[in-house]
Symmetry: C2
Amino acid sequence: MPSKLKVALLGATGETGSSIIRGLIASTQPHYEITALARSASVNKPALLEYKKKGVNIVAVDLSGPEAELAAALKGFDVVISAIGPSELMQQVQLANGCKAAGVGRFVPCCFATIVPPKGILILRDIKEDVINHIKKIYLPYTIIDVGWWYNTTLPRLPSGKIDYALPPYEQSIAGEGTTPYALTDISDIGVYTARIVGDPRTLNKYVFAYTEMRTQLEIYDLIEKLSGEKVMRNHVPREDIAAGVAKAEAKEGQIVVGTPEFYQLAIFQYWNTWGIRGDNQPEYAKYLGYLLAKDLYPDLQGKPYLQYCQEVLDGKAHVVYKGVTFFE
Amino acid sequence: MPSKLKVALLGATGETGSSIIRGLIASTQPHYEITALARSASVNKPALLEYKKKGVNIVAVDLSGPEAELAAALKGFDVVISAIGPSELMQQVQLANGCKAAGVGRFVPCCFATIVPPKGILILRDIKEDVINHIKKIYLPYTIIDVGWWYNTTLPRLPSGKIDYALPPYEQSIAGEGTTPYALTDISDIGVYTARIVGDPRTLNKYVFAYTEMRTQLEIYDLIEKLSGEKVMRNHVPREDIAAGVAKAEAKEGQIVVGTPEFYQLAIFQYWNTWGIRGDNQPEYAKYLGYLLAKDLYPDLQGKPYLQYCQEVLDGKAHVVYKGVTFFE
């Protein structure tokens, strides 16, 4: 029997991280020996203790502490995955340095989002790109994984309020005409895809785009109307308004604090622009940027269909994201 | 008979550009219909008129003029290659926009140098990377070509002065111990490699590293001593001096004017650091960064051996680079 791959995950209690750790635990090809890396203040979080019961090791790390200590904690891992929060992305420079010093076999920095040009379209991607450039500068083996937009933040409110429980804590709007296809993935599949990708030698030092379905916002609105029998509000944000929001975000780049309400207010325009207007979040553009497609690498890996997700939402069984989170004041 | 590929080249009279235009003229697979793009003030340069006799079209373009005019001039080209000078690299943003508006099939921005991490090691590469990021932002089909260090700037002075005619206008030094292998190409082969690469559908939206041989500086010094029977001066620049020069260059990034003597004084330390100390300019690192190797794509394409280059230099038959150029005051 081949020995298990040793994988460490930072950020296991976040939205993306908890999907990843579930994916790693469930994975049979390969099997993983899993460690959750957490700040010492967080090692006793109930969610982590739950994972511990399932055989996950919990190890405290301090990204801003001495590099030698961090490297010692990272020693022996085949894979280190980061699902760090948006406001802490640059701390991955220390994490990457620690991985390099420890001889980690593969580092997966926090991307796990839509396909976006490397620079100048989305502040969050600009920062992620700075991390990627640092990884390349220190010649650290890596894999970049992007997954498209989450199913779980696509649906509009139904007048009955029936699916309110499953919606993120902000109004849903349609970017421009709503006719641009964008790649979508159920958040629960991020971990399934990731577990397969990070154990695959073909994806070493590669970019991989793992998404499940392409839809347009109009198609989504039509579908939920049909499935629910309710008529939904269609709040179109005109192209001009999106362009104005993007211009405002660009003017503030560098001054704005990532993770603040102001940041999200502006980031949403950049997102609408990239996936709703420009149409960046598509497999053809990903291939142009050098990504491999998980659909090509793993034809057996289907992902949850969007239709099934909608049905789960209507049945009251949906996985809910951003529980208790406030983005805007 | 298949029709010729229509290719345009900007910077055809520079060191790299003149190698490229000779490569395009000589190419038989594919055959090219060649246009040299030049500023209107330059269209009557003797070198361009020489190419004109060989069937090259000369077309005036103004990179800082109206985009519609530039796009009109670029209409119909399968390939546009830029071999623009180092101080004009950012003008390629307008050139790329023109190519996008004209529907050019493939844009090859000016890289044609050593393998370097995308950001933070070499100011010149940082700028080239900004251009590449712009290309990706506008979704313009592209190919990146790097060629390693030129044979033509590797040899030290011989005490007899016999090969002075063939040396670049600055002292040759050894970076650190001189034991780091780096990839080398004769400048005359840049065009040969480029002509093959830009006509190959497999290299569309890809990075290609086309080099001929790996050598260390010590090997080179030993070789020329053996071939010439002369003893050469070995001027080692210690690692600490290189590190100090790099720190100075980094401290000045953003303020320094590319192409000035001060710029070259600092850039040389960054070059020594990247290919002489870090060892970035190697095929393994290029593959890590996502490059295809021309050696894999075109096993028939051998390039001029370094030994043959040395023999040509000693025989007084070498191609001389940077004739009449002064880098430092």
